[in-house]
């Protein structure tokens, strides 16, 4: 089975394009393990539908990743796994005291707290740097929906970020 040409072709495909796809999957899910699971789920769908895909399996796989993530793929499991992880990371960040790194880590922590569709839009727009129209095509929704999700996502990020900063300041002022 390991010598099946489909596996060899899939391995070749991943060697060429696996890294950017996995990075996107990790951002969509919030952790490396969940990202690998999401990419594997996407690959399985790619295998299932390969005969119907014309020309661009990466495009199909990318759309699949976004749609699985936006539809809340394994949402419950991921959230259960994420919660203790985020709590431990928060504690580490406070102890470490490196503010710039903390800010970046905080943004990622805030990103994974967004609802799946808003997170998917944020990743598509600001990681993949897709336009609103391109994002709408990938997610299979309207441009208006992308705009609304991006706006709400950014608003939440800004809001959550503000709450985080206020808390930090409050903690610093506490004797």
């Amino acid at each position: 089975m390991a010598h099946d040409p489909a596996v060899a072709d899939l391995e070749s495909f991943l060697a060429e394009r696996g890294e950017p796809l996995l990075r996107t999957a990790v951002l969509l899910t919030g952790s490396r393990e969940a990202g690998e699971d999401l990419l594997q789920a996407g690959l399985e769908r790619l295998l299932r539908h390969r005969s119907a895909i014309v020309g661009d399996p990466e495009g199909y796989l990318r759309r699949t990743l976004y749609n699985l993530a936006a539809d809340g793929w394994r949402r419950q499991r991921a959230w259960r796994l994420r919660l203790p992880l985020l709590q431990s990371e928060t504690a580490l960040a406070v102890e470490d005291g490196t503010r710039e790194v903390d800010t970046r880590d905080a943004l990622i922590r805030l990103l994974v707290q967004l609802p799946p569709r808003q997170r998917a839009v944020i990743v598509a727009r600001y990681w993949e740097q897709l336009s609103e129209a391109e994002t709408a095509v990938v997610l299979g929704c309207s441009v208006g929906s992308v705009k609304a999700s991006a706006s709400r996502g950014l608003q939440r990020l800004r809001g959550l970020s503000g709450i985080s900063t206020d808390n930090d300041l409050a903690e610093e002022k506490t004797p």
Binding site: E19, L27, L43, S51, E128
Partner: protein, 308 residues
């Protein structure tokens, strides 16, 4: 969302996924999992008729989506994806928040001469005796302002040249201890729309659009199309994506984390890029200082381009 927060978010995403690598065996894992689900489905379906059909795993057409017959369109799609990412990376507003520093090494017999609204490079001809011989140049660019210093291969400084949208062009010529200044030309900043496909050996980075610089120039080259991703290559310690032009004239190496160019070759000319934060020290590199005792002269105007 402020641009700063957008940048921070992008940086956070890059950092968060910077060391992500595809685990070995993921393809086989996906394949086996898919096969198990297929077999489970088959058994369940066959149970209704009390007949289990043994046989192949129906991998007919395995050369379909991933087979050799489809590698060309897949490669084309990947190239298009990478080119799009590079074009996005070099476009506003992102590029406007970075200071671009470059070092270009020229082959023998090349000259580079500053004019009122740009720089004119030539190859061959009187290069070996010209006072404008260019061994290498060091350049800086930020938000439409540019500075470039040209040196002979021996390290002898030939000229410093700077252009800002507000103050125009200033050049210091070390060969005859002169300097000149010229008013700013009209044009667009480096983050504007790509100026379209540009071909030819004469490159006037400043003309026809003040401060367009390398980002716009590279975007103009990519606009010519006919580029292919040619795998990975380590440049300056980075495992870059190599992008080659079909003509063989231009090759780019881009950082897969940022999709910004790390290196570019144009024929025998090689340019290395660094993308830096706009710190006071880096911004100071954009200014030209006129040494004491240098004499001001009128700014020269560029000759009309010759017909090919």
């Amino acid at each position: 969302m402020s641009t700063d927060l957008e940048q921070q978010l992008r940086g956070a995403m890059e950092r968060f996924t910077g060391d992500v690598r595809v685990p070995p065996g993921l393809a086989l894992k996906a394949y086996r999992h898919r096969q198990r689900r297929r077999m489970t489905g088959r058994v369940a379906a066959a149970a209704g008729t009390a007949t289990v059909v043994a046989g192949g795993l129906a991998i007919a057409g395995a050369a379909g989506a991933f087979g050799s017959a489809s590698h060309a369109p897949v490669q084309t799609a990947y190239t298009a994806y990478v080119i799009t990412r590079v074009e996005h990376a070099l476009a506003a507003p992102r590029i406007g928040n970075l200071v671009e520093a470059d070092r270009t090494v020229y082959p023998p017999d090349r000259t580079l001469q500053p004019f009122a609204h740009g720089l004119l490079g030539t190859e061959g001809g009187a290069g070996s005796s010209s006072p404008w011989r260019a061994g290498y140049t060091l350049g800086w660019m930020y938000r439409g302002s540019m500075e470039l210093s040209s040196f002979m291969a021996s390290g002898q400084r030939v000229f410093d040249w700077a252009m800002t949208p507000a103050n125009g062009t200033t050049a210091v010529i070390y060969g005859n201890d002169t300097w000149w200044t010229a008013p700013a030309p009209g044009g667009q900043g480096g983050g504007g729309p790509a100026p379209g496909c540009i071909r030819g050996s004469q490159i006037d980075l400043g003309g026809g659009g003040a401060g367009n610089g390398w980002p716009a120039f590279i975007r103009s080259q990519l606009a010519c199309g006919a580029y292919t991703v040619a795998g990975r290559q380590v440049v300056d310690g980075i495992s870059t994506i190599k992008i080659t032009g079909d003509s063989g004239q231009f090759t780019f190496w881009v950082d897969p984390a940022t999709y910004l160019p790390v290196q570019m070759t144009m024929g025998q000319k090689r340019t290395e890029f660094h993308w830096l934060a706009p710190t006071p020290a880096n911004l100071a590199k954009l200014k030209v200082t006129v040494p004491a005792g240098f004499r001001q002269v009128p700014a020269p105007t560029a000759p009309a381009p010759q017909a090919p």
